[in-house]
């Protein structure tokens, strides 16, 4: 595929999303305050960047495991626990860089422990990761007095990685780690084989334990970066009852969309583009006062369904389109 066509197809989704939300909000009176159209403005840029960067990091962590045929439930819990530990240490030391470093190390350790339980326990991945999710969630009640971390985001110095322009650093690092893993490591390049046919992959010599452990380390680093952004933007409270799986399900949308969009480029760009488009979508809904409550959930559900249906049926749509154009040509 030519480069210009690739770029066009890659940017098509967010551009279409932007144009669609622009048109919809422009027609909605709720989007005008004192005669001023509020959709377009620096607030849009800031919202999209801040939300998309967080989504990109979490989505990359999810996709890294999914690409190797494993659905890891525990990424959300690992992120929350990492955020609490790194945030509290950062608060005590006053250093955002130390927070970042501790978060990355913590993420790696937690994901490595999950991998160890999976490999040594020889449990199905979903069961192993659900167990680790329960464990990590329970630890959020035990570390640092069980109070979570409430005031990290309030500190301008400490929370630089959650706001402009510092947020670009962990995001770029996460994307760089993913690209390095996918293109420069044997594990990353051969991971797709395991996802498509695990037995065949093992039979041709892929060492699955090495794949699991290396993937977990890289995934853990990305989880740590996601946790840094998360604690820099939010109050982080202890979680229980697999509530962190909700985090996973909310960030899985850019993953699935990114897989499709990334066909024209690569998965990192696909996921990033999908995250940006969804952030534009959410901002538009916020402007129309549909950003919270019941309607936002329903609209999100319908949108997700339509997108997946479109991507799954693309070949059929193309065939139908070709048949239609042929009929017109004959006529």
């Amino acid at each position: 595929m030519k480069l210009t066509k690739k770029i066009f197809l890659t940017l098509l989704f967010p551009v279409l999303m932007f144009l669609a939300m622009w048109a919809i909000t422009a027609a909605n009176p709720a989007c005008y305050v004192n005669g001023k159209f509020i959709f377009l403005g620096f607030d849009l840029v800031r919202f999209v960047i801040l939300n998309a960067c967080q989504s990109i990091c979490v989505a990359l962590a999810i996709w890294m495991q999914l690409k190797n045929g494993r659905f890891d439930f525990s990424n959300g819990a690992a992120m929350i626990l990492t955020a609490i530990i790194a945030g509290n240490i950062g608060l005590r030391t006053g250093s955002p860089w130390l927070t970042l470093l501790v978060a990355v190390l913590c993420g790696i350790i937690l994901c490595a422990i999950t991998a160890a339980v999976y490999m040594l326990g020889r449990l199905p991945i979903v069961i192993a990761t659900i167990g680790m999710t329960l464990l990590y969630e329970s630890l959020t009640y035990l570390v640092f007095g069980g109070g979570g971390i409430s005031n990290f985001y309030q500190n301008d110095t400490l929370s630089i990685f959650g706001h402009l322009p510092g947020i670009f650093f962990p995001t770029a690092l996460a994307m760089g780690i993913f690209l390095f893993y996918s293109n420069c490591t044997v594990t990353g390049r051969k991971g797709k084989i395991l996802a498509n046919n695990q037995a065949a992959g093992v039979n041709i010599g892929i060492w699955e334990e090495a794949n699991v452990s290396q993937t977990s380390m890289f995934c853990g680093a990305i989880v740590g970066l996601a946790a840094t952004i998360y604690v820099s933007q939010n109050q982080v409270l202890p979680q229980s009852g697999l509530s962190t799986s909700g985090i996973m399900f909310s960030y899985i949308v850019p993953v699935y969309m990114g897989m499709f969009i990334g066909l024209a480029s690569n998965d990192v760009i696909g996921i990033s583009i999908a995250a940006i488009a969804m952030a534009i979508f959410n901002y538009g809904l916020n402007c129309m006062n549909l950003g919270g409550g019941g309607w936002q959930q329903i609209i999100m559900g319908v949108f997700v369904m339509c997108f997946y249906t479109f991507s799954a049926q693309l070949d059929n749509i193309k065939k139908a389109f070709r048949r239609l154009t042929k009929k017109e040509a004959v006529a």
Binding site: I38, Y141, Q154, Q233, N234, Q235, N286, N289, G292
Partner: protein
């Protein structure tokens, strides 16, 4: 053979010792067990409540067991209460009005009493009064800041804004917007907003040169659906100097920080979150916070203990009541300094409004002169100025 005899002798000796000790143990008064269903399972408020109640255990011969309730799932609350009852609790303090009728049925089946804390039981009061407030197993509740239509929270916010303006005549607040939780969950927050607007209008009429503009409460923009405020709020309320957050500040402040306005815009909020002291008053955006005194739990506790011990106040009302306690209104750096000496932040029982001896004296079964009026009066003296 010799060693066997020695072992047997040892066993017999131990058995005799236990046999002697058992009557002694049985003769000791049975410890009352009180279950506490909290509204959250972590944070400064929870630690402070546990610290305060822990200090009362010896003096009252009570053991406290804790669980956490849900503000959205009734079945979970019923399960938690059942577990507390099964754990041997004689009385239960609840902080939620979810599934109350079914919970009271459980209590009735087990002969366990229930009282409320930090909750005005408004849904039950309006829709199910006979089955809840007239139920012999429901003893009453205390809510922070007054119950329902008696509450004047809106006036407190107004007073705080004026106090701020008087303190900073060079940069007064002239334009505010508000946020509230949805009416179906917190029906009185919109009336608090109306109280605030009413007072502002009175003030503006008397002081036209110092008029304060209040953006009307918008159903679409200003109601937070239990998630952080989104950044479009600032576009929809351009030019505001402050936000009056009748719902919790923790839903508003993170967005202020993300939007980069936390250094220029002020926040008057209900609630208090760990670490807010670092950004309060002269140090940051927060200019007012409202804290519920943990010692208000004394009201349901005393009522439960009296009932469990088979004693009532001579002036006990015929039906369960809901009472309001005072609140800790933090309006300035001086107030914050006082607040830091309270049990809420220090977690030291000696910093509480009430000592164990004070609480013992409030109970009818320990003090025949104790009255219901006296218990209610204590609730009114838990303000920032009452901190030692």
């Amino acid at each position: 053979m010799k060693s066997t005899k020695k072992v047997l002798a040892l066993v017999l000796t131990l058995a005799l010792v236990f046999a002697l000790a058992a009557p002694t143990a049985m003769a000791k008064a049975r410890t009352t067990k009180i279950g506490v269903g909290l509204y959250q399972d972590s944070g400064a408020a929870v630690t402070a409540v546990k610290s305060y109640l822990g200090s009362l255990e010896d003096a009252l011969n009570v053991k406290f067991t804790y669980t956490v309730l849900s503000n959205t799932d009734e079945a979970q609350n019923i399960t938690k209460v059942q577990e507390l009852i099964a754990a041997g609790c004689d009385g239960i303090i609840c902080t939620m009005d979810m599934g109350t009728e079914a919970i009271l049925q459980e209590c009735a089946d087990a002969g366990v009493y229930l009282a409320g804390y930090l909750c005005d039981y408004d849904t039950s009061f309006r829709n199910n009064y006979d089955n809840v407030f007239k139920n012999e197993f429901f003893l009453g509740t205390v809510a922070d800041g007054g119950c329902a239509d008696e509450a004047r929270r809106g006036y407190d916010f107004f007073d705080s804004v004026i106090e701020y303006n008087e303190r900073t005549p060079d940069a007064p607040i002239r334009h505010v917007a508000m946020t509230v939780f949805p009416a179906f969950a917190f029906p009185y927050q919109q009336s608090f907003a109306a109280q605030f607007v009413e007072k502002v209008e009175e003030y503006n009429a008397a002081n036209p040169d110092k008029a304060i503009e209040v953006d009307p409460l918008s159903d679409e923009t200003d109601i937070l659906m239990f998630r952080p405020m989104d950044s479009t709020y600032f576009s929809k309320h351009p030019g505001i100097d402050a936000i009056v957050s009748i719902c919790s500040g923790s839903f508003v402040y993170p967005t202020m920080v993300s939007a980069g306005v936390s250094n220029t815009m002020k926040l008057f909020a209900a609630g208090y979150n760990d670490g807010d002291e670092a950004v309060f008053g002269s140090k940051g955006a927060y200019q007012m916070e409202i804290v519920s005194p943990v010692e208000a739990i004394t009201y349901p506790l005393v009522l439960l203990l009296n009932k469990i011990n088979g004693v009532e106040f001579p002036d006990q009302p015929a039906e369960a009541e809901r009472r309001g306690s005072s609140v800790l209104l933090i309006n300035s750096d001086e107030d914050l300094a006082k607040f830091q000496n309270s049990i809420y932040l220090s977690f030291k029982p000696e910093d509480a409004f009430l000592s164990p001896e004070d609480v013992v004296a409030l109970t009818a079964y320990n003090n025949p002169d104790a009255t219901y009026a006296g218990l209610v009066d204590v609730l009114a003296h838990m303000t920032i100025d009452d901190i030692k």
